[in-house]
């Protein structure tokens, strides 16, 4: 199956019933397949006039109770930042797929790893998933919806031209095998329902347009009733909660695969397509007797700190291969850099590292 089609099937399996998009390469197959599939499952598809149209119609549809998604590529993802800011502030669950490309058509890159986290204005946390195969595009799109619904926050599936345009065999699990999460509905009667009063998990229950709750959604500071109000304490409490509901759960959200890390002296930390060659390289290094391990990150934000620390417990060096000028390596440095040397391995040629190239770096790091 084509990577971009696996995203669509994952979304439908997760319950997505609204999709809006605007043409952009290399994400077009997502819109095209959604246009085909949405009416078949009683969902709605629309091609909007621009990416702003996409992100805000997705906000509107999600507020009306539909699990909703849009997809774009880097240049279009730029436009969506103001909508992400709104969705964070109004706590709207939605999923955005960004098939990263580099300033032009189809040039594979990891250029958006920082924008995915910090692009929107205002205090916010982001959940960003980084698939490395077509199977993971399916699986992580399901996860993205579950996380968006659970935390009432936008979730980004950070795909790449390389993965999205690749065909691989995948297994689509039957519905009973999939764990699907849907937003918590209000239980209080309308006169008592405080739409922004959070429960223990810091996430408020969510009504939908057309039911009886008449909620006002705004990105302005608002109290627990949803009323616009500007008091310093309320402002701080609101944004502390909106960020903490995710930041506090970073290790629980963490999606990763650690292999050979128990005794590893050299650990490769890789995400997305770079994880593919890295696993191979680590196996080759082990064959040579080098104590190498790999931590494959399937989410890069919030930072899976515990996984990073545990997988580098015996490490002397951490190698971070990336398809950019070296971005996420700084994040790795921030969290494990005191205990271990972090070696950036940038390769910004639109190609991933070959296993041999990474093996060579592992040998050098020994």
């Amino acid at each position: 199956m084509l990577g971009n089609h696996a995203i669509v099937e994952g979304a439908i399996a997760a319950g997505c019933r609204f999709y809006a998009g605007y043409p952009i390469t290399p994400a077009n197959e997502i819109s095209e397949w959604m246009a085909q599939r949405m009416p078949e499952v009683g969902g709605r598809f629309i091609q909007m006039e621009d990416e702003l149209g996409s992100i805000y119609s997705v906000c509107g549809a999600s507020l009306a109770g539909k699990k909703s998604m849009t997809a774009t590529a880097s240049a279009g993802y730029n436009y969506m930042q103001e909508g992400i800011e709104y969705a964070v502030a109004a706590e709207i669950p939605l999923v955005i797929v960004d098939v990263m490309r580099q300033r032009g058509e189809n040039f594979p890159t990891h250029s958006d790893v920082m924008q995915a986290r910090y692009g929107a204005a205002g205090d916010h946390e982001m959940i960003v998933l980084t698939p490395s195969s077509v199977q993971e595009l399916f699986d992580l799109t399901v996860q993205a919806f579950n996380l968006a619904e659970r935390f009432r926050n936008p979730v980004i599936v950070l795909s790449e031209a390389t993965i999205s345009l690749m065909r691989e065999g995948i297994r689509i699990p039957p519905p009973e095998e999939l764990k699907i999460i849907t937003r918590k509905k209000p239980v209080a009667p309308p006169e008592e329902f405080m739409p922004f009063r959070a429960e223990e998990d810091l996430v408020p229950r969510m009504s939908e347009f057309g039911d009886q709750y008449r909620v006002l959604y705004t990105h302005n500071p608002h109290d627990e009733w949803g009323r616009i109000a500007w008091t310093p304490k309320m402002y701080e409490d609101l944004y502390n909660r909106v960020t903490r509901k995710i930041a506090d759960k970073a290790d629980e959200i963490a999606l990763f695969d650690a292999q050979f890390t128990e005794d590893a002296e050299i650990v490769v930390m890789a995400y997305g397509s770079e994880a593919r060659g890295s696993i191979e390289a680590v196996r080759m290094a082990r064959d040579e007797g080098i104590k190498a391990g790999i931590l494959k990150l399937m989410n890069i934000w919030p930072v899976p700190v515990k996984a990073m620390k545990e997988s580098t417990r015996r490490a002397k060096k951490v190698l971070v291969p990336e398809m950019n000028t070296g971005r996420y390596c700084h994040v790795v440095s921030e969290f494990v850099g005191c205990d271990v040397d972090v070696v950036p391995l940038p390769k910004n040629q639109g190609r991933i590292h070959s296993p041999e190239e990474i093996l060579e770096e592992i040998r050098r790091a020994k």
């Binding site: 809006a20 702003l52 509107g60 539909k66 347009f209 006002l216 302005n220 009323r227």
Partner: protein, 274 residues
């Protein structure tokens, strides 16, 4: 006795934030009179605004509401209406919000004949931000960003919506309240894209600095005296209409709305499976 519109105000809480003499209160009242006369179920309504003075109206209404991002009201509305076509959506916006930053969404929502009612307050200026030139500011007038007079031509947004495909289009000023309420009622009852422009006074900014009229009553008189019916306008030359406000109903026709066409297609594909 309670004001008849108060029951539609969120938490029955007043005052609102509009300046004394502002037209936004009149526009809100016209909407609430229309809702009351049509006996609409407000629990099935969604009010959507962007940013600007008039875009604050949704925040006061006792119904589901989006106080959104500048210019994006019709994009939100597209998602809401496709997700739940049974909802009635009213967009409250301004000349900057939907004539400038949100212009693209306006054009395409009209083209699609999305079933929403847009009420656009046109006060000729960016008032909330302190009086910058708007796409609707008359040529020659002073604003804070046209200190030597506006060199641009003003935008006729009703004509834009007509060309784009809107199916009910009218313009009034706040000095014709009865006609305005009638048009809002028609717009709300209309299946398809209805667009009602309300030219309104802004005594605090536009009246005071651009027109030299601080007194709200003088501002209202200005609107009244410069209103020309569309029938009367036909008899005048373009030069004679400079600075005039052409009022009336410009378009009224029935065409299938986007949601209806989509649902028809969806039914044919899925046999109505959800």
């Amino acid at each position: 006795m309670e004001h008849p519109s108060l029951k539609y105000i969120r938490g029955k809480k007043l005052p609102h934030m509009f300046c004394p003499g502002c037209g936004c209160g009149q526009i809100m009242n016209a909407l609430l009179f229309a809702i009351d006369e049509l006996k609409l179920d407000t629990s099935k309504m969604v009010a959507i605004g962007g940013v600007g003075c008039s875009s604050r109206i949704p925040a006061y209404l006792d119904m589901y509401a989006i106080h959104g991002i500048h210019g994006r009201n019709l994009a939100y509305a597209t998602g809401v209406k496709l997700a739940k076509p049974e909802l009635k959506v009213v967009v409250l916006t301004g000349d900057g919000d939907c004539g400038a930053i949100g212009g693209n969404h306006l054009i395409h929502a009209a083209r699609r004949n999305l079933d929403v009612t847009v009420i656009m307050a046109n006060n000729g200026v960016y008032a909330m931000t302190g009086g910058q030139v708007a796409p609707t500011t008359a040529t020659g007038l002073y604003t804070t960003t046209t200190p030597r007079g506006n060199v641009e031509r003003p935008f006729d947004i009703c004509k834009l919506v007509e060309t784009a495909g809107g199916t009910y289009i009218a313009r009034w000023t706040t000095a014709q309240p009865a006609a305005l309420i009638r048009s809002v009622k028609k717009g709300l009852a209309h299946r398809g894209f209805s667009f009602i422009e309300v030219v309104c006074q802004c005594p605090t900014i536009y009246g005071r600095y651009s027109l030299g009229l601080l007194d709200p009553v003088k501002n209202m008189e200005y609107l009244q005296q410069n209103s020309v019916t569309k029938e009367e306008a036909l008899k005048r030359s373009a030069e004679e209409l400079v600075g005039k406000i052409v009022i009336g109903e410009f378009v009224e026709k029935q065409l299938p709305a986007l949601e209806d066409l989509y649902l028809e297609m969806e039914k044919a594909v899925s046999g109505g499976v959800k």
